[in-house]
């Protein structure tokens, strides 16, 4: 199978065989072409070459409808659910049971949801609205959607990206259950731990090509080197932190969004000089708003933010940047860079008006050019010329430009949101090294990340956020299970106690997830 976008070959003659009743993992880095391939298979894109054979018979899909009819179901990375619909409506959409004159037989739709939901212990209320459900439950709605159409092959595209570790474990057990009932599963991921936990067979993709099969018994390091194409170190090397004074303090910070929801709720913490505090948590629990409030994009309703003994609440973003805050925004492509601007212009976006880059009303192009070239060297940015638009760079190199800009000044505080989202393994290593170097230079660092691997890789201390609050600040040696519980809202001491006692371990990891899922759904009503 081949798929070409313009001059970019996303899938280059890929052959893949899925056996009935197996879990087949498709392993590859971001941008390797895994999702593209599955979207072709699901009929969303047209293939530019190749055949799809189902039970040895060639099939062509004009659209997803044909793929569904052939027994292929897909759970997309970004859920295909209408937020204002109920669970029953979402499952019924496209395959509506109807009464006379086209009215939907809602009783029938609800029954179908309850039936599948109880078969797999999903605990889903057919009348709950999608937008009120936590992502784990939304994912189960997606699975019910596929199953209600008798899917024989289920494609899961990065299903664990948005889940807590406990939700991930639950998903893995659901996948096992499905497999026992004869469903084949294609599991797309770049997370090595999960692949080894569940897959029967593994296909590794790199730059649109299949680079080989791997066995689930391979070590993570073997899988990683196959995925990246060279040996990689999975652990980031760093010395023990040598923290100094707590020069950055947040006290009782409360932020309310336009719809009057409390998104950051009475948050207090310190970051000391020379340490990295990582903010962990599932996406959408207030981390974004917290970071934006510290830099001044959002105004807090209550609380103070103190940097070097001065409360910076009420200061403009420009003043805050001036007092030495470096900020790497979460969404690089929309907030971190201006795509049409050149690389060197993007390097001075927040310092364009000061020496040495400017004098009076004039910019000094020669200085800007020289500085840009120095930074390109220092940050190992792969580019053609510094006057090319930044949009021509890969994600990893764009992020290096952002980092070079933010780390290029003397900082009193460094904040980065999701600094390695969507980057390849090489760039991730580089970003982590630079952040640790900044720490060692004595800057307090605040890193927001939803990737637990990253949190463990760089954090000296970990703050876990859940529904706008900081559930607890714990050491970097806290177990994955305990962090997972905290990410579902369990206070730190309880989470640590629950995971410390080995007997309760199983019960505790299985129970709280379903509970918090159902309770938050009920609360939302």
């Amino acid at each position: 199978m081949t798929k070409v976008f313009g001059s970019f070959v996303a899938n280059d003659h890929i052959d893949l065989t899925i056996e009935p009743g197996e879990i087949h993992a498709l392993l590859g880095e971001n941008g390797a072409g895994k999702s593209t391939m599955m979207n072709v298979l699901y009929g969303l894109y047209d293939a530019d070459g190749g055949d799809i054979l189902l039970d040895d018979k060639p099939v062509t899909f004009a659209g997803p409808g044909d793929a569904v009819a052939a027994g292929i179901g897909m759970v997309h990375q970004h859920f295909m659910l209408v937020p204002v619909f109920t669970v029953a409506e979402s499952v019924a959409l496209g395959y509506e049971p109807t009464k006379s004159v086209g009215l939907i037989d809602l009783a029938e739709a609800r029954k179908k949801v309850r039936e599948i939901s109880s078969r797999f212990n999903f605990h889903l209320d057919p009348d709950a609205r999608i937008e009120d459900l936590p992502v784990g439950a939304q994912q189960r709605v997606e699975i019910i959607k596929a199953l209600s159409r008798d899917a024989k092959i289920l494609i899961l595209d990065e299903p664990t990206a948005v889940l807590t570790p406990q939700e991930t474990d639950e998903l893995i057990s659901i996948m096992r259950q499905l497999k026992e009932q004869g469903t084949s599963i294609v599991f797309i991921t770049h997370k090595l731990r999960e692949v080894r936990a569940i897959a029967d067979s593994i296909t590794v993709i790199r730059r649109g090509k299949i680079v080989g099969e791997a066995s689930p018994e391979s070590t993570e390091a073997e899988l990683a080197s196959q995925m990246v194409g060279r040996a990689v170190s999975l652990t980031t090397e760093k010395d023990e932190a040598d923290p100094g004074d707590a020069t950055f303090q947040v006290r009782g910070l409360t932020v309310v969004d336009k719809a009057e929801n409390v998104v950051v709720d009475d948050v207090s913490f310190d970051v000391r000089r020379g340490e990295i505090l990582a903010v962990a948590g599932v996406q959408g629990n207030g981390q974004t708003e917290l970071a934006e409030t510290i830099i001044g994009l959002t105004q807090p309703r209550l609380g103070s933010i103190t940097l070097d003994g001065k409360n910076i609440v009420g200061q403009s973003v420009k003043d805050r940047l001036g007092s030495g805050i470096g900020f790497v925004p979460e969404d690089r492509s929309t907030d971190g860079i201006i795509a049409e601007f050149t690389i060197r212009e993007n390097m001075i976006l927040d310092v364009y008006d000061r020496p040495p880059y400017a004098k009076g009303l004039n910019l000094k192009p020669a200085v800007i050019n020289d500085e840009a070239k120095k930074k390109v060297e220092e940050f190992d940015i792969r580019l053609g010329s510094v006057v090319d638009p930044i949009a021509t760079l890969s994600g990893g190199n764009q992020q290096k430009v952002v980092l070079s800009r933010e780390l290029g000044r003397d900082l009193r505080l460094f904040i980065a949101s999701q600094p390695t989202r969507g980057l390849d393994v090489g760039s991730i290593e580089f970003v982590h090294k630079r952040v640790i170097a900044e720490r060692d230079a004595g800057t307090p660092c605040l890193i927001v990340s939803t990737e637990l691997d990253e949190v463990y890789g760089i954090a000296d201390r970990i703050a876990v956020m859940y529904s706008g609050r900081i559930v607890g600040v714990v050491g970097a040696d806290t177990s994955r299970e305990a962090l997972g519980l905290m990410m579902a809202g369990v206070p730190a001491d309880e989470a640590l106690a629950a995971t410390a006692a080995p007997d309760e371990n199983d019960a505790a990891t299985a129970a709280p997830e379903t509970n918090s899922a159902t309770t938050s759904a009920e609360e939302a009503k």
Binding site: L44, V68, P83, L93, L103, I104, E494, A511, P512
Partner: protein
């Protein structure tokens, strides 16, 4: 297990308690109420006008006659104003307590204020306020608005913003008049009107869906186009031989036996021509079908999250085109009310901006048929009120009265809509 449950529940409870304490006091409504109450008290009550105001309720042929209500202008003004002041005070108190007002509160307040105003306006001139005429006028003026708002909401619920309602109304009015005149049968005009509206929608969807042109721009351009085409044909063809091309044809009134003899409401609602009855059916049918039918579910899906609809095999663009054409037909029907519905010949630009007011009604009604109906009735009523006051003669300048519906529209859309959520993908072309 229970322990986990409680830990998950308590923080959420705390959050909501805190958010209440943090909510800034909403002063907008209490201030509005207080100003209106004081205006009523000072101008309609204390200063007032001597004389009596008669509210005429009965019309000939009613099932039972209700005598006219005669009140002293100042006394009525004072009593009503005092009630308004009490209500305003209540709203201030509730705002301080951060309690949201019930939905009936603004309605009751509005009705009392209008009655207070009428009592004042009718006084002095010894005027008679014909209630039935006032309400019948309100319904009549609302008909094109209601059809237009239904058109708009079907379009936007499917993801196509339709600014061209104005043009569709005008096209419907034009074709209805011409066809009815040529065939010499008003019902023929009624059949032609939806075709005209749908034709405008064809152009809209052609550019919006096939070429991804900005839907607001194409809508505005279509409005200007329809004004141009109809005006051109009017001055070249229609005025050449008005007897053939533009003769008046009126849909006959079809009073429903018994129901139409009920005083006030029966008169207003059930002594109408077929177009108004069609409107009732359209509104009720949409209210049911948008939310409970297969058609409605798919329409809302392509308007909210077209890609999700695509992944379950729904043809997004086909659904959008089909529904927008249907919506155009509905607006075309509304246009017929200007000509065959009211028994008038076609006149240049006779839709007079009603399509835009219909859009406002749709937004104020939060994209719900029921809500859009009420909003359109509010606008229709304010216009009818202006007309009635003009005819009985009041101290308020005519020009100000003519502005009334638009002032109400601006206030309603700007101030009272609050948080609304349009369909998420409305106006966004679906490109694979």
């Amino acid at each position: 297990m229970t322990a986990q449950n409680t830990t998950a529940a308590t923080p959420a409870a705390k959050t909501s308690a805190q958010s209440k304490a943090l909510t800034p006091i909403a002063w907008k409504f209490p201030i509005t109420y207080t100003i209106l109450a004081l205006v009523s008290l000072i101008f309609f009550g204390l200063i007032g006008r001597d004389g009596e105001t008669t509210f005429r309720i009965a019309t000939s042929g009613d099932l039972f006659a209700i005598p006219d209500v005669v009140v002293s202008s100042t006394v009525a003004g004072l009593i009503l104003s005092l009630i308004l002041v009490v209500m305003a005070a209540t709203s201030v108190y509730l705002a301080l307590k951060r309690i949201t007002l019930a939905a009936w509160f603004p309605m009751v307040f509005g009705i009392l204020f209008v009655v207070s105003f009428l009592a004042w306006a009718g006084g002095g001139s010894g005027g008679v306020i014909p209630l039935t005429t006032l309400l019948a006028g309100a319904l009549a003026l609302s008909v094109p608005l209601i059809f237009g708002a239904m058109c708009g909401l079907v379009g936007e619920r499917s993801g196509i913003i339709n600014i061209a309602i104005e043009g569709q109304l005008l096209a419907g009015a034009f074709l209805a008049a011409v066809v009815a005149s040529v065939v010499k049968n008003p019902y023929a005009g009624l059949l032609a009107a939806p075709i005209a509206g749908a034709l405008v929608a064809v152009i809209l969807t052609f550019f919006a869906v096939k070429y991804w042109v900005n839907q607001i721009i194409i809508g505005v351009v279509l409005n200007v186009l329809v004004v141009g085409v109809t005006s051109f044909l009017y001055s070249t063809v229609l005025t050449e031989d008005p007897e053939l091309w533009n003769a008046r044809q009126k849909l006959p009134d079809l009073p429903i036996p018994l129901l139409s003899d009920i005083p006030i409401l029966g008169r207003v609602l059930f002594d109408q021509n077929i177009l108004v009855y069609i409107m009732y059916v359209v509104v009720i049918a949409l209210q049911i079908f948008v939310f409970r039918s297969k058609w409605g579910l798919r329409m809302r899906a392509v308007g909210e999250h077209p890609k999700a609809a695509d992944t379950v095999g729904i043809k997004v663009n086909f659904t959008r085109v089909r529904n927008t054409l249907l919506a155009g037909a509905i607006a075309g029907l509304g246009g017929a009310f200007f000509t065959v519905g009211s028994g008038l010949a076609f006149g240049k630009e006779m839709s007079a901006g009603q399509g835009y007011i219909a859009l406002a009604a749709m937004i104020l009604g939060k994209w719900n048929p029921k809500g859009a109906l009420l909003a359109a009735l509010l606008f229709g009523f304010s216009k009818s009120l202006g007309n009635t006051l003009q005819s009985i003669g009041t101290p308020v300048a005519n020009e100000l009265l003519l502005m009334l519906p638009y002032i109400v529209t601006v206030l309603a859309v700007a101030g009272f809509v609050g948080r609304v959520r349009p369909p998420a993908s409305s106006g966004v072309p679906y490109v694979k």
